[in-house]
Symmetry: D2
Subunit: 348 residues, 4 copies
């Protein structure tokens, strides 16, 4: 079988490294190029010694033309604003792009500019960009040349809310999203906020009312609702490496039950290989998705307050980033959606 | 100065041990009796080797009459239902009691029986019991013979909500409380749920819609509101030893601002030595209260959704249990409220 | 290609679960039977929700005759002494056995009885049992009917010492082994020693001078040395889930150098796909082997004290248990040694 | 009672902050000056929000003359080489100095220059400097004007070895020291090595054969032995905040027993309030000394290999740094040695 030739741009960060880890084990992929601005000249195993014996490959500077010649698809794991011109260049050269930056997630460049405080210099591409959440947009992903991968928080939050909104279960004015994330989501660059003794045995909220993933969540939920949805989203940092647990609460518009919620969600995600809607009374935990591409969802209706609870758990580096990238690629290249991703979480 | 003679009943658990740790450092306390049903005959240092060189004292079986003869006040750190007859016995003998069980927190024995699935056999005492949250009930505590200490979650949740409710800032129908707790809150008895590999690098919700601290929170908030308040409360277990971070969200009844919230909260807690309302834009973290009796509160108003956010952080074993017990005792015996408790959190 | 039909006996524990995780992803394996005394009747996904969507299979009571009919090989992950009669039964029925208990690791039943305080009731089988460390015994494993998998600590310790002993670098009287292990090595059963708050932010030695893995280490090192070797082995428990870091020190019999040590070790492990001898100046870390079957080894010579240092890192559940089991099976059934095991550690 | 007026120089780091925490609770101390080059102008509570409500004081630039006017003693928590001229200046002005840098620990400036790769510009002061380990040098500390506090690792290692060497129990050529440290020992400055995801669920050795605490350990052990002692010392980084567990092994010169070791150590540390020699069969753990000034020591003799094991546990920021500083100050100013330090570890 012909293999897909891939490049990973920015292979030295946590997301890039996770892409390499997953792609190295994918049966239908040839890794052709790994790039790193900072570490060009070094071997990938110097950055990720975990890959010793598995993948022996130099990191190089990105060369768009060369990438176009030798690759079918490029995975980007570089910061927003830096991704913009590179995506544009690769698209012009005919390479498919799966981009983990925020640059092509928001359809309206004005929203981008407001939340990211930076001009959008490639807004012509936004029309073509597909938001890479397969559970919502599989058909568009199939034929996309540019997939803009969701942020890690939006993946967990949108999957936890989409069926309830679609089925008009909840009051769109009373949606509250609290997420707790492991620290790998903050990336590989050391900072006072991610220094071990400031995180261990600690918890803290951050980005209160201002986190940049808010417009992304609202864009996708509004699309489903058919009207503008605003949410109160609050992320928290917890002493764990990987994973996001999201707790969504929302007032209901009429009586429901936990059992009915499970039914609604299972119907919505029927055929989605990576969403596991748990039985009534079961709730997700990070350890069951750690290192895997699954999103576990648990549901409850609180009769006393007439509100629903929806919990989701993902591995932020996998379903929240690199795994979702591979899932999108599988769809784009007509592989079974779970190819190279069919393994359970590392428990314990 | 005459010292207060104290007994700690159930000195072998985490809360009992923390009481002993704090009382051993209190300048106006003589520890007279330490009891333990399970470990009677052993020395307290066999259970808490951290106390070697500081307190050398045997654990004994509880003897109510002997306690009455030799102690002015008894701290109870034993399970609910077990506490009931012991509290009654001690009160009859004239000993003041500071009880950490749930047995005397709820004024209505029917509510107790509904949530705890056990008969209340000492409901005559409920009238006299004072809910031991000094920031709300200092005057009643001053003259109380029986103080029922709040649960750890209610301490953080009530302190985060009281000023907003008192000042009629929020819609009482749209209060959502999410708490994240360290594992010491689950006590000292091993269980599959608290086995290290099931907690480390993990997160999970539990007690979804059913946690027994709900009626306590609602009782106190309803008292402040002057009408019945129901809340959606969801606790989560996180890989930390000590501490509870509570994130409260609520819809507002009219426009406000973060600055106004800070003003309202500071006015409410004026003179309360252990509540620290943070400057606008600052949020609490566990590490700043670890091992201390402080409750840090941070506030924000989200203009986009017209909701407020109130965060609180406490050490569940200290302000959430043993420290609050000592704070209550200080009030009961006319010591300055911070006596023996005036130390900052262990950072890092 | 014909697949190997396997049974996992004791599939509900951490080691059993890891076997199932690895076998479920092995391209040449059919999982035929999963047994559990405690959870027979439940589905494996109820014990390991991480496997939902991947493996849907009931746990059953062990039936030796049925296992013989339907399986080519049985993996045992049950406690010592319990394994003995089951191994014997399976062997009699012609099933190959890969056993993780300690029952067939020690060639001398008297040594077994001394360290395990239990009679060895199947000592006739000891002759046939092969110590399942492929880097030392690949040829014997190839034709073995009974493979006794090494303990987790011995795997790390023996691999760190074998080349130095084989090459007569060190004084056999001055070998000191210190190991630090994550808590999953203690198994799935809760105990006060593995209760989260007793482990987190803590470190402790245990099994001082008495750990049962000592005779195993000494047996294998003595075989290599051609004379009796005694070691001082001390394990420590650390707040991590998976992994063992072993620090070996030993006095040398003559001058050497770090570079020479690297050369000696690389020569010794030439062709061993799962031992990675690091460059001089590099040392192993748990995170590079987490979830993988690799053993990383780092070496140094201290000129000031004329001693060598050898460090090894393994994942105790993988190379220290289930991964090694699969590696042995690959050898026994003539698959490439790395089949189903060729993935790097989960970093971060 | 007249209080001692103190300055803390470098109050913004972990060690400086711990000094402030301890001094703020010391009954006979007035904190007069807190300095910070980096944060002068800020309040100490901005750096350590844990101190809000306890100590409200600005950080200032160091002014040696002003310090001399207003302080009896200065605690230094600044890097080596930076401390040298400041110590000299303060000493000239007649202020007593308790210095946590390495600058005055080593009596021989050539040894300093070899290990620290920097010239010693104040070697005239070395004669007067006293190594601030009260268990060895209490008398000299009593009259010292300059106390050079031990490093954190040397504190644990020397206390674990001193009685065995003094009593000629062990072969001085066969001493192996392995230490495992929490991450606060690496200080407050973020680095890739201390980034949360690189530490959590991980273990690693570092400073292999080259750690700068080696000459300090050897200096003090040689003084006790009356001859040159060399040790193989290897530190490891573990996922904990505070604490060092040290495992010492050494060959014996003649038969001994665990009981005899306990007797020898207890005799040696008779009267030392902060060393707790545990009963035979008991071993130290970090959690029993966390946040406290105690050093717990456990002992064993291994008859099989004729070696001894000595384990010590300290809190690196407390007995390994700031607590030891206060202990030295107590001795220098004739306070009972445990003043302000008589509290147990935070368990859990």
């Amino acid at each position: 079988m012909k293999k897909v030739r891939v490049a990973v741009v920015g292979a030295n960060g946590y997301t890039g490294g996770e892409m390499v880890r997953l792609l190295a084990g994918h049966p239908s992929v040839d890794i052709s190029i790994l790039t790193s601005r900072q570490f060009a000249g070094k071997n990938i195993t110097e950055i990720f010694p975990s890959l010793r014996g598995i993948l022996d490959m130099p990191l190089v500077e990105l060369d768009v033309a060369d990438t176009a010649r030798t690759c079918d698809v490029a995975f980007l794991a570089i910061p927003h604003t830096q991704a913009m011109p590179i995506v544009a260049g690769l698209i012009r050269e005919g390479v498919k792009v799966v981009d983990y930056s925020a640059d092509f997630r928001l359809q309206d460049p004005k929203v981008y500019e407001k939340w990211y405080k930076a001009p959008h210099t490639e807004s012509a591409l936004l029309k073509a960009a597909v938001y890479g959440l397969p559970e919502l947009h599989a058909n568009a992903i199939r034929t996309a040349q540019l997939v803009a991968l969701p942020g890690c928080y939006p993946t967990g939050a949108i999957l936890a809310l989409a069926p309830a909104i679609k089925n008009k279960v909840i009051d769109l004015k009373e949606i509250v999203i609290n997420s707790m994330s492991g620290v790998s989501g903050a990336g590989q660059t050391p900072s006072p906020q991610t220094h071990f003794p400031e995180i261990a045995d600690n918890l803290r909220p951050y980005g209160v009312t201002t986190h940049r993933h808010i417009p992304e969540i609202e864009q996708e939920l509004s699309l489903i609702a058919g009207e503008q949805v605003n949410v109160l989203f609050t992320p928290h940092l917890v002493p764990a490496n990987r994973g996001i647990l999201t707790t969504v609460t929302a007032s209901t518009v009429s009586e429901t039950s936990s059992a009915e919620l499970v039914t609604i969600y299972r119907r919505f995600y029927d055929g989605a290989p990576f969403v596991r809607v748990l039985d009534q009374g079961m709730y997700p935990e990070l350890r069951f998705v750690r290192g895997s591409n699954y999103c576990d969802i648990g549901l409850a209706y609180d009769q006393r307050t007439k509100k629903i609870l929806a919990f989701s758990a993902i591995d932020n580096l996998c379903k929240g980033a690199a795994g979702q990238a591979v899932q999108c690629m599988n769809i784009m290249f007509d592989f079974p959606e779970h190819t190279g991703l069919r393994f359970g979480g590392l428990t314990p």
